[in-house]
């Protein structure tokens, strides 16, 4: 302790003092001027709740939202990965038209705010896809059937399946552009000699990509992909704007129902932080074997 204190510069003390002043000011303001009545004691109820009628603990709004956020993130990242790989390969294609199309898609997504992209994709694409596949009826059919536990485990309430899927589609499409750029960088980082060697043992272009280029590129792109995944979890909060019931949407609902503005938002922020921070810790650990 002594040693630690010795290492402190006088500026360190200034910083500590400033932080303390800020904290005291906030407490003062909230307690005094704002006369906000904190109702922290109500919050745990919205995380887990004991249902007396069913005699068991059930996840309430915030956890439901959190689980939805996790589901959306996982499925959207799979979709983004698949589309991103296609896009990345297209970006390296020998055909100019393919390259230009991929580039157009990419530039659109890179130059338009995510909020706007999400609205456009939502109204223009995911809606159409859901309608075209008649997904609602199908999902409802499952929701009504008795043995839907597996479906429920993977997708939550099947009645809300279309909303989940549109969130996944929107987020997946949106992120695929960035994944595509990572994949392209990965592919282009593979030495030309590797492709020639593959070709000279008679591999077709597809085999060359499948067995030689992509596996090697994959290794190089893993760290940026991990970062992208964290971005995706963060961006998933945007799907609340299109009424997908994720953590942010549920928090908005909670605030609208109970007016616990401070508590609800602080808890939601903490949830996001915990997920993203543990993910980045995990990836950092994995990166250095």
């Amino acid at each position: 302790m002594q040693k630690f204190l010795k290492r402190l510069h006088w500026l360190d003390y200034v910083i500590v003092a400033l932080v303390l002043v800020a904290v005291v000011f906030v407490i003062q303001r909230v307690g005094g001027t704002l006369n906000y009545n904190w109702r922290w004691e109500k919050i745990p109820n919205y995380i887990f709740r004991y249902r007396e009628d069913q005699e068991r603990w059930v996840a309430n709004l915030l956890i439901q939202g959190l689980v939805a956020t996790i589901r959306i993130s996982i499925y959207a990242s799979i979709l983004a990965l698949v589309l991103g790989v296609i896009l990345g390969v297209a970006r390296c294609s020998a055909n100019l038209a393919v390259r230009m199309l991929a580039r157009t898609y990419l530039e659109f997504l890179r130059n338009v705010p995510p909020v706007v992209v999400i609205f456009i994709f939502f109204f223009f694409l995911s809606e159409q896809i859901i309608a075209a596949l008649n997904m609602e009826r199908w999902a409802r059919g499952i929701a009504r059937s008795d043995d839907n536990q597996i479906w429920t485990f993977f997708f939550g309430d099947m009645r809300r399946f279309p909303a989940l899927i549109s969130g996944v589609i929107v987020l997946g499409l949106f992120q695929s552009a960035f994944v595509g750029e990572i994949v392209r960088a990965g592919i282009q980082s593979i030495d030309k000699g590797q492709r020639e060697a593959a070709r000279s043992i008679g591999m077709s272009r597809f085999q060359e990509l499948r067995y030689i280029v992509l596996p090697q590129a994959l290794r190089k792109v893993l760290p940026p992909m991990a970062n992208q995944f964290i971005s995706l979890v963060k961006d998933s909060s945007l799907v609340s704007l299109i009424s997908v019931p994720d953590l942010t949407f549920k928090t908005v609902e909670l605030v609208a129902s109970t007016r616990m503005i401070f508590e609800a938002w602080l808890v939601a922020a903490a949830f996001y932080f915990v997920i993203c921070f543990s993910l980045s810790m995990l990836f950092r650990r994995l990166e250095q074997p």
């Binding site: 709740r49 299109i242 609208a256 007016r259 616990m260 503005i261």
Partner: protein, 252 residues
């Protein structure tokens, strides 16, 4: 003519509701029309109306919570069959969707910040120095723009946000359907009050449905007519808007 009639009725949303065996109702969280109770379940006036409607139609009911400013586009693009969400009839909206007869008449009142609007007459609100807050796309927004064209108007996604704005002194006043303003005034008596006793534009709230569907409109009108006559609607309305019985089910 025969075939037009057939295709009209088979294309009606009523028909698809019967076929699917479920009616999908779009709504947005809006005390006390609809809100989340302690269990995280939806409760409120709309929920009672929706469930009763489904029961009478002999189908299941599914509520689709949607942000308010996207609720009409969502209806138009077929995300649900009907909006039952305290939506009041306005000409602008009516150009895009059709309305049933009103099923509730809750006039709007002004909720104002006490300190900021001390001694204001109704005319005083119509000034460039005054800031109103309202929910984007909601009726009060249109009414405010209409009544107080000089005032600045800020639009939010959620109703709670505008009340909080007034509470925090960022806006002078907001307007919304009773009982929200009175309730808020009761909760923060030092800061908030309802300055005028009169309710503005009690035009009535109605179901909104897609255009070109006379069958559905007829059905909903008659259902509302029946429920009004039997007093069921008024009883439910009073329960949620006048009563306090439900308050302990929703964190307050």
């Amino acid at each position: 003519a025969q075939s037009t009639q057939q295709s009209l009725s088979s294309g009606s949303v009523i028909e698809s509701i019967k076929q699917e065996g479920v009616i999908k109702i779009g709504l947005s969280i809006f005390r006390p029309w609809s809100m989340r109770d302690l269990n995280g379940e939806l409760v409120g006036f709309e929920l009672d109306v929706g469930r009763e409607l489904a029961k009478d139609m002999g189908v299941e009911v599914e509520f689709v919570p949607t942000s308010w400013d996207g609720i009409i586009p969502a209806l138009v693009s077929g995300k649900f069959d009907v909006i039952i969400s305290g939506m009041s009839i306005t000409p602008q909206r009516n150009l895009t969707v059709n309305f049933s007869d009103p099923y509730a008449y809750s006039g709007m009142t002004i909720l104002a910040n006490k300190a900021m609007t001390e001694g204001f007459s109704l005319e005083d609100y119509n000034s460039a120095d005054v800031t109103f807050a309202a929910r984007r796309g909601a009726t009060p927004a249109a009414v405010i723009a209409d009544m107080f064209p000089e005032a600045e108007l800020l639009l939010f996604d959620e109703d709670g946000a505008s009340t909080q704005e007034v509470l925090n002194g960022n806006a002078h006043a907001t307007m919304s359907s009773e009982p929200t303003p009175s309730e808020a005034a009761r909760r923060y008596p030092e800061t908030l009050y309802v300055p005028f006793n009169e309710a503005f534009q009690a035009g009535g709230e109605a179901f909104a449905l897609r255009k070109g569907d006379p069958d559905a409109e007829n059905f909903f009108n008659n259902w509302i007519g029946t429920k009004t006559r039997t007093g069921w609607l008024k009883e439910r309305h009073d329960y949620w808007f006048r009563g306090e019985d439900w308050k302990d089910k929703v964190a307050e």
